[in-house]
Each structure stands twice: as structure tokens, then as C-alpha cells.
Symmetry: C2
Subunit: 310 residues, 2 copies
């Protein structure tokens, strides 16, 4: 017990003994056994985080903000990847719960019903990231993808665009992109307008795919048209297609997207997009974990970035 007290710096131990214990621990290279310790304490400092993918910088930027806040505390982050699969997410959450984590962080508001039940029944401190359009299991922080899409639709309408196309990828798994598309269409409808053409692919988004789908959607000369993309990668591909074809932007083809990723700075033209506050979402999630925020929902606003393509 005395050793335990010294090592945890808890309770009173004489200076003399403290030194001896510390020295001995150093000598034998003692490493605490968290399995035993946390087991005895019936709690851990682990936070289970589930994100859809590690190769989409949207999620790693959020993670980065989360980590920057968390890493000053004694909490540890354990990351799992759901590959956009709610069934897999459920299994991951179940596995994580077995470690009795201090908290769970999920991406998005759409989950398997069993996941929600599991988390609620076990009364786990849960935070959902990136989206706020829905009922959180416990807490959530993000932006309204509906509002973001509406803002973009309004911007295009105000700029006098009357014909619209949509270019998207992986909508069957990307719930946020799906919400944006629906809200965009709705806003157009409110103004007596509609999406005339759509190019979709189940593949993950990429510049190459954006380029291909844009070529497809423009093949029968429907210009002038304003294209709304599911995200920046797709839109960047679209821009490359247009410039290579000598298509006038934004006169013949306008380009608008979502995310506001940094790589857009590399493009020859500034693409109009909607910047999602990714790093900030992560930071706030971190502060939720540290108990610094109580609100059930934190809605961040994001920002419409008007570039040269609309």
C-alpha cells in the first residue's frame, strides 16, 4: 500500500520512504499494470473514438482538434474505423464498452438502433461529431449540413443561376452529403427551381471521379449550369475538367462545393465552398469530454466561402 501511495502520489508517505520506493521502482524498471489498476478502480482513462475513415482528412482534422484538447489531460484516445458501416460501428462500440471507457465519440447522428440503446442503457458519456441535424444520444457538436446546403443554394440563386446540376459520390454511406443534397434541392424547390441533371457514383470521392462525372454531366452541352458537388475533392476534379476543356467559369459552368479543405489553395481558381469548422468541432468535443460544456447540442456555423467559380 505504501508503494502504491508513492507511485500514485496519493496520501501521506514519509520523504525517506518515498525516495526509496521511487529509486527501487526506477531500478527494476517498474511499469504499472493498468489492467489491474483500472480493474480495481472500476474505471479507465480511455476514450473510444469511432470515425468512418482515416483517409478522409475531414475526420482526421476533427480528431486532431480533439487530440489537442485531450492530450493535456490524463485521458487516452483509442481510435477505431467503421468504414462507413453502421453494423461495424455497433461492434466497435460494443468492443470499446468492454474496456469501460470514460467516454465514447461517434461520427454523425445516424447509428444502428442497437448502438443507441447500448450507449443509453450503459449510461455512457457519448459525443456525436460533425452533424447536429437530429437527436443526439447524449451530446453532440457540429454544424447543420442542411443550413450549409441552403446557404449555398441561396448564394447561387442570388447570383442569377437558373439551371442546376448535382455531382456526388458515395451518397449511400455519406449521410451528411445526403442531407446536403436534399436540403439543396428543397431550397431550389422553394424558389421554383430544380436540379436538372445528376451524376452519381457509389465510389469514394476523389478528384478523378469528380472529373469523370463532370465530363459526363456536361456531355450534351447543357451550359450554362451551376454544379453543386458533394464535396471539395469532387469539385476540384470538376474544375480541372472545365479548365482543360476551355469551359468558361463561372459563366458557362459554376462550381460550388462543401468542406473548405486546405488543398483547394493549390487549385488554379478559388472554388466556392462552405467551410466546415472541423478542427473546432474536435476541440469542442474534447472540452465536452473534460466536462467543460454541458449543453446537449453545440451548433457551429461554418462559413460560406465565395470564390471565383460562382
Amino acid at each position: 500500500m505504501t508503494v502504491s501511495r508513492v507511485l500514485r502520489d496519493k496520501g501521506y508517505v514519509s520523504k525517506n520512504v518515498t525516495e526509496k520506493v521511487l529509486k527501487a521502482a526506477e531500478e527494476i524498471g517498474y511499469v504499472r499494470n493498468n489492467l489491474a489498476g483500472s480493474f480495481a478502480e472500476q474505471s479507465t482513462n480511455l476514450i473510444g473514438v469511432v470515425i468512418p475513415s482515416l483517409s478522409n482528412s475531414v475526420f482526421t482534422e476533427v480528431l486532431s482538434g480533439f487530440e489537442d484538447v485531450i492530450h493535456e489531460s490524463s485521458l487516452q484516445i483509442a481510435i477505431s474505423v467503421s468504414h462507413y458501416d453502421q453494423q461495424r460501428e455497433f461492434n466497435l462500440v460494443k468492443d470499446m464498452l468492454a474496456w469501460r471507457p470514460a467516454g465514447i465519440v461517434l461520427t454523425g447522428m445516424e447509428h444502428d438502433e442497437r448502438t443507441r440503446n447500448l450507449l443509453k442503457q450503459n449510461n455512457v458519456n457519448t459525443i456525436e461529431l460533425i452533424d447536429v441535424d437530429g437527436q443526439p444520444i447524449s451530446k453532440c457538436v457540429g454544424l447543420s449540413h442542411r443550413s450549409a446546403a441552403e446557404a449555398m443554394a441561396s448564394h447561387l440563386i442570388e447570383n442569377g443561376h437558373t439551371r442546376f446540376g448535382y455531382v456526388g459520390s458515395a451518397l449511400q454511406v455519406d449521410e451528411r452529403a445526403k442531407k446536403r443534397k436534399i436540403a439543396f434541392e428543397q431550397k431550389l424547390a422553394d424558389n421554383g427551381l430544380k436540379i436538372e441533371r445528376t451524376a452519381l457514383s457509389p465510389e469514394p470521392s476523389s478528384m478523378l471521379l469528380g472529373r469523370q462525372l463532370t465530363a459526363e454531366i456536361l456531355q450534351d452541352n447543357c451550359q450554362p449550369i451551376a454544379l453543386y458537388y458533394s464535396n471539395d475533392d469532387m469539385a476540384a476534379g470538376g474544375l480541372l475538367h472545365c479548365t482543360s476543356q476551355g469551359i468558361s467559369i463561372p459563366k458557362d459552368v459554376a462550381i460550388a462545393s462543401f468542406n473548405g479543405l486546405e488543398f483547394l489553395d493549390a487549385m488554379p481558381m478559388r472554388i466556392t465552398t462552405f467551410k466546415s469548422p472541423r478542427y473546432e468541432i474536435g476541440q469542442i468535443a474534447g472540452r465536452y469530454m473534460l466536462g467543460e460544456i454541458d449543453d446537449r447540442i453545440t451548433q457551429l456555423s461554418g462559413e460560406l466561402l465565395i470564390g471565383d467559380t460562382t
Copy 2:
């Protein structure tokens, strides 16, 4: 015990009892306590991974490959971020060892001596990623940054370049970039050449920084010159500076870099770079973890990508 057997599907239990147990577990929403279980087993399925940063896609791409291999097994990944700080890395490794992980994954070959000792003494299955120029603690997989830089130097020399500049960032913490710079200089020296100008910054690399440092290095008209950059972000910024200034590429300024990141596809010109096999490194690290590889060192080659800028 019978319950334990059913839940782990281990040993013989009658069908009748098995069903009853499974049903009861389902009803009460039983979740195994890994703290108790792993404690009793004296082992875990956790793999501790330490990477320098989550906001550098080099590391998340490696992680992605690692995860893709690992996630078919029963192993779990716990990620920590060292912020390029060896002291912090040591603390993270120590914290991870407290969980008695099935393995540890580190980035690079340069670590605090205490980290190496800790890992060796505890006989932990350790894998070092991305670099192979050095003595691994246990196993490592990566590419030779020396060779990559030498290949680029040779390419530039063969193309007739005779004057050289170097643009880099964060060399005090980026050991791989440092190795590349040294090897590049050495190769030049072997050919009676040298780096005439250097622009360095302690800031993390970014396109903006690359742009600024390139402006700086070119301010007193030293063209023609071949610039070697610490990585793609910096080089992309350099390219943007040159195109905006109407500088002829590669005639007046040649640009060469390292990594071969995907965002280069967005650039108006294909930058000459050296593609590091990031995803593959992660995959192989995963196979190391699963015990599918025994070699102490796996050296991957990478690829010189000759673009329009050299």
C-alpha cells in the same frame, strides 16, 4: 465457469445450456469486462501506435494501411500523438506499456534512449515505420530516405542542372527530411556540386510557407536554379509562387520534392517528386503485427515521379 465457456465459445457446453446462457446475456445486455478478462489472461489485444501528428496525411495514410490489415483480426488500435517530441513519445510508450499491449508501433528510427531501453527490456513486439536508415529496436518497415534523396539529386544532375537551392521546414523535428537534405547534399558533393542557397523555417510545412520561402530564395535573381523541397506541400507553394511571377519552369526554376501526395493532382503542373509507399508501409506493419513476417527490416523502394517541373 460454464457461462464463461459459452461466451468465449471455448470448451464443451451442452447445447441446451449454451442457448440459455446466450439468451440471458442478451436479455440483461451483458458486456464483457475486458479489464477483468485481460487482467486474468495477462494479455490484451491492444496495439499502441505513436505517430508524430494527425494533421499530416503521410501518417494517416500509413495508419490507414495498417488499420485495413489489422481490422480483420481481433486486435484493437490505440493511437497517440507525439507532436514530434521524443520526450513525449517516451511518456506515451510508458503509458501504453501499462496496458500490456500486444505490440507497439512507432514512427521513425530516432527515439529517446529510454524508449528503446524500455521496449527492449520488456521484450515488446515493436515496429518502427517509414524509415529504414538505422538500427531498429525490433522490426521496421519503410523506405530509405537517403536513397530517395540521392535518386532525386541524380535526376537533377542528369538533367543538366548545376545550381541548387534547398527549401525546408521544421527540420529540427522532422528527422526524415533532415536525412534527405543531408543525402541530397552529399550526392551533389560527390559530383562536385553544392547547395548554393537555403531557405529554412521552423514552422510546420504548408503551401503558404513554401510560397514565402521560395520568394525569399529567389529574390536576388539566382536563376536558373533547381530547388529541392523538404516535401510536397512546400514544393506546391513554390510552384504557385513561380507561376504567379511568370517564372519559367523548369527552365529558370526547377522544382523537386518528396512524398507524392494525392493533392499534387490538383496542381496546374505535375511536380517532380518521389513517391513514398505510405499505404503499403502500413499494410506491412499490420502483417508484422499478425506475425506474418519475420524479417527484421522490410525496405520498400518508392518511386521517382518525373513531372513537368524538372
